[in-house]
């Protein structure tokens, strides 16, 4: 599956990362790219449960493609969300269902972030994305 220009650029930035510290810095910068949610969008209905941190997700289809926005109070998770959305935004439901996110995060050197542990917020967000688009 081909990457959006946004995702390809992110992948390039992470490919150049040699250390956990560099990756952490980059993650925080990625988080700064995440468009903020409006305060009224941070509501219970949009809340993604199953995360240690507070996470909200909104999504809408436009001409058959899905566009998501997300917010959280944790900085590194914000970066991970930005990378997740860079990969999924603009895909249709079929492509979303078939998407291998494990592979996406592994290519960024962030495979650990998608472990099946229940404390992992990213998995819960992914499940919500698939539910919204399904």
């Amino acid at each position: 599956m081909s990457l959006s220009p946004e995702a390809a650029e992110a992948a390039e930035r992470f490919a150049a990362c040699g250390s956990w510290e560099a990756r952490a810095r980059l993650l925080m910068q990625e988080g700064d790219r995440l468009a903020p949610l409006a305060p009224e969008e941070r509501n219970d209905a949009n809340r993604v449960h199953g995360c240690e941190s507070l996470v909200w997700l909104v999504g809408e289809p436009r001409e058959g493609r899905w566009y998501f926005r997300a917010g959280t109070d944790a900085r590194l998770l914000r970066g991970l969300l930005a990378l997740l959305l860079a990969r999924v935004n603009g895909l249709d439901s079929q492509a979303l269902a078939a998407l291998d996110l494990q592979q996406w995060f592994a290519s960024l050197g962030l495979q650990r972030q998608l472990t099946p542990s229940r404390s992992n917020g990213l998995n819960a967000v992914l499940q919500r994305i698939k539910a919204l688009a399904g």
Binding site: W20, A24, A74, R75
Partner: protein
């Protein structure tokens, strides 16, 4: 100050974790296992597994003998007196659930069940649900600012309607020893049954349940360097006599017909189904091994490490330790830093600590926090582990601030 652990080499997983560049500081969740326990498990499985209390054949007899010897070992370890006062369950949580169902018939509408504000969900929710089933009231004994049950408040809250007092020995969040002696005396004075959750406490001190004077004492093997899937429920024989049978089937049955059945008394009557035989044998081996150690030396080592942990946290700006931990662990938060961010960067550096609410959501609500980072120690930890933790903590905070 260097504080090596003389027992580290007895735990093969510590070397394996080191090869994986992991520093294990989450022993309050579960502990690593000594070689003696691994050998016992292998020996049991390699020399012929058999079910207990059923077969007349030799393997069955040997397994039953080994299993019942472990009951004696547990009774000795706890100073529990007769081995028949020890029931094996599948964990501390299942032991507490056994109690909450087995004692249900003693609870009437308007009765009270007292728990502390510091309980792990496992020693809160079985009682909460029992109270809901019976129209009883769950009374929560508040803790003081240091993290100990306030005995003056408890005095006012425990009364003639109190049927059960269920309280932890050592908080899994705050690391505080609870004032069991006055609390248990209060329960006795009002004729309430007492339940002590020893899941954390049993690991960090030798227990004497007879001297403690509780009716029931519960712990899980896996936190005490034993296998998972095994819990222990000690009950004073008079208290055990009050339990109604809970789960049915297997060798807990005395006589059975299609329309009725009778059951054995404790302990067998409360061990429905095949018990965790290998696990119990593994626990027995762990207890033998623990008994061979100098307990005072172990406790002194743990104390010095704990002091180093508290000092290191205290030396750093913006760190708030929750409560006043006595032993074993410390929970903390950092000003202006999100727990999840800190946990993320500690994990990146191979530091295995726990972040979250540690199965004590109501306590965190009371503390006004959405979680904390917990560092917990065991006998195999050493000062290098703490140095690696603090080094990782400093680098993480540098990045985040």
């Amino acid at each position: 100050m260097s504080e090596p652990s003389p027992w580290r080499g007895d735990f093969p997983a510590l070397a394996a974790l080191e090869r994986q560049q992991q520093t294990y500081l989450d022993s309050a969740a579960t502990s690593q296992k000594p070689q003696a326990m691994l050998d016992a498990l292998t020996h049991y499985y390699a020399h012929g597994a058999a079910n207990v209390h059923r077969a007349q054949h030799l393997p069955g007899a040997l397994a039953t003998q080994a299993f019942e010897e472990c009951r004696e070992k547990v009774a000795q370890w706890l100073h529990a007196g007769a081995p028949a006062q020890v029931i094996f369950t599948h964990g501390a949580t299942s032991a507490l659930n056994l109690l909450a169902y087995g004692l249900e018939h003693l609870i009437a509408t308007g009765d009270e069940i007292a728990v502390s504000a510091l309980e792990h969900h496992a020693n809160l929710l079985p009682w909460q649900q029992l109270a809901l089933r019976r129209g009883a009231r769950l009374v929560v004994l508040p803790a003081d600012a240091l993290g100990r049950v306030d005995t003056a408040e408890a005095e006012a809250l425990i009364g003639p309607r109190t049927r059960i007092l269920a309280v932890t020995q050592l908080s899994n969040v705050l690391g505080t020893q609870q004032p069991l002696a006055p609390l248990l005396a209060l329960a006795r004075r009002h004729g309430a049954l007492s339940v002590v959750d020893g899941a954390q406490g049993v690991v960090h001190g030798r227990q004497n349940v007879a001297a403690l004077g509780c009716d029931f004492y519960v712990f899980s093997a896996h936190k005490l360097y034993g296998p998972d899937g095994v819990g222990v429920l000690y009950g004073r024989s008079e208290a055990l006599g009050k339990l109604r049978h809970w789960q049915f089937g297997g060798e807990m049955v005395h006589q059975a017909d299609y329309d009725q059945a009778s059951f054995h008394p404790a302990p067998l009557g409360f061990e429905a189904g095949t018990p965790p035989i290998a696990g119990v044998i593994g626990l027995g081996a762990t207890l033998d091994w623990l008994a061979s150690l100098d307990t005072q030396a172990v406790l002194a080592h743990e104390h010095r490490l704990h002091q180093q942990l508290l000092r290191g946290l205290g030396d750093r700006e913006g760190i708030r330790v929750l409560g006043a931990p006595d032993t074993a662990l410390a929970c903390f938060v950092v000003n202006e830093v999100h727990n999840a961010d800190l946990a993320h960067l500690l994990t990146d550096q191979g530091i295995a600590v726990r972040v979250g609410q540690h199965c004590a959501m109501p306590l965190f609500k009371r503390l006004g926090l959405n979680g904390a980072i917990r560092v917990s120690l065991a006998m195999y930890n050493d000062s290098n582990d703490l140095q690696r933790f603090f080094h990782a903590l400093d680098r993480a905070l540098e990045l985040l601030r």
